[in-house]
Symmetry: C6
Subunit: 79 residues, 6 copies
């Protein structure tokens, strides 16, 4: 199973970088709990608990920080 789609942190745009952060976070969960049925079972409780949602957003924020640095914050697109 791939942990990082296309095996790169580089993305054309900020939006793509953000989507990659979400994707990478989910793939980590998948790597730790590979059973899809279990993951599906956990989803309803998780997705309706505000603290669980905040914790997930926290992980995405950290993954995004790495991806943003890798892309030099997509500054080149502006210059």
């Amino acid at each position: 199973m791939a942990l990082v789609p296309d095996n790169t942190l580089l993305t054309p745009t900020v939006e793509d970088g953000r989507a990659l952060a979400l994707k990478i976070a989910r793939l980590t969960i998948k790597a730790i709990q590979p059973d899809e049925a279990t993951r599906e079972l956990l989803r309803p409780g998780y997705a309706t608990d505000p603290d669980s949602l905040t914790a997930a957003a926290h992980v995405v924020a950290i993954e995004f920080a790495t991806i943003a640095a890798a892309n030099d914050y997509w500054r080149a697109e502006r210059s």
Copy 2:
């Protein structure tokens, strides 16, 4: 759905950068829990729990760190 408004991390001022951090954090929650009715249902409990508020502020702090670095801390405006 857009994850990053205007597809950029660059903002004219610090204040705008902070507002973007809040916005990005909310858009992540929206991406994980896309159902608006559910999000609205969770809000009262969440917004009256100090630990939930602190956890949300924590995520904003991390998003802001990335945005601030992207804008080179808005130093150019001062020089």
Copy 3:
């Protein structure tokens, strides 16, 4: 409402930078829960729970990391 006082991360001293970190963290909470009466209601429980205090200090630490980097750790004052 302002999210960053004076719209800058730059402060004359480390102490001012630390005070700004505390201020910014509080302004984020205010942005998420704008009702002052509610915030006042939550304060007693929050301020007497050691884990809540640690979580708040955690957020301040992260905000301060950003502010310190923005000010190049106030190194210029020493040279």
Copy 4:
């Protein structure tokens, strides 16, 4: 017991870097709780608790940030 496989943070690809992050996180748990039987006992509860999974993904995200910086985000492979 080794805490870092091959005693290096450098990996040929992003995917390998991500796998290393997962590995390092697990080796830390192993260093803190060296008894394998205990770790196995804890796994079912842990792997079916969404907040535990998110917390684990959080640690992986931080380890990966370090590994990604060590590898200069694997940028050289693209140029």
Copy 5:
């Protein structure tokens, strides 16, 4: 009340930097909960709860990261 002793992040040694991280973390708690009697009341429960101790160590780790960067990791002492 001072939030940063001596109003500087610069310390002669790593050990001093670590002590400063502990000190700064405590001064933040003091700023949020200024009543000493309350803080003393909370201490026994807090200091015997492993998760509270870990959370406190977490904050110290983040404060130290900032202090270490400010001191360029005290590399100059070695060269």
Copy 6:
């Protein structure tokens, strides 16, 4: 009591850096809860709670990030 063994963040190898991260994290707990008997009492509960283990691994990850940066990710050994 020393907070940082040998008063340096510099280590010859990645493995040593990782061991230092574990050591520093433990010394912080020791500084906050200096009573060894209390710490020993807390250990069984802590070491059999997966979330406590993850939280500890989280702190180690952050300490290691600082140590890795201090050592420039041990890149010089490879060149």
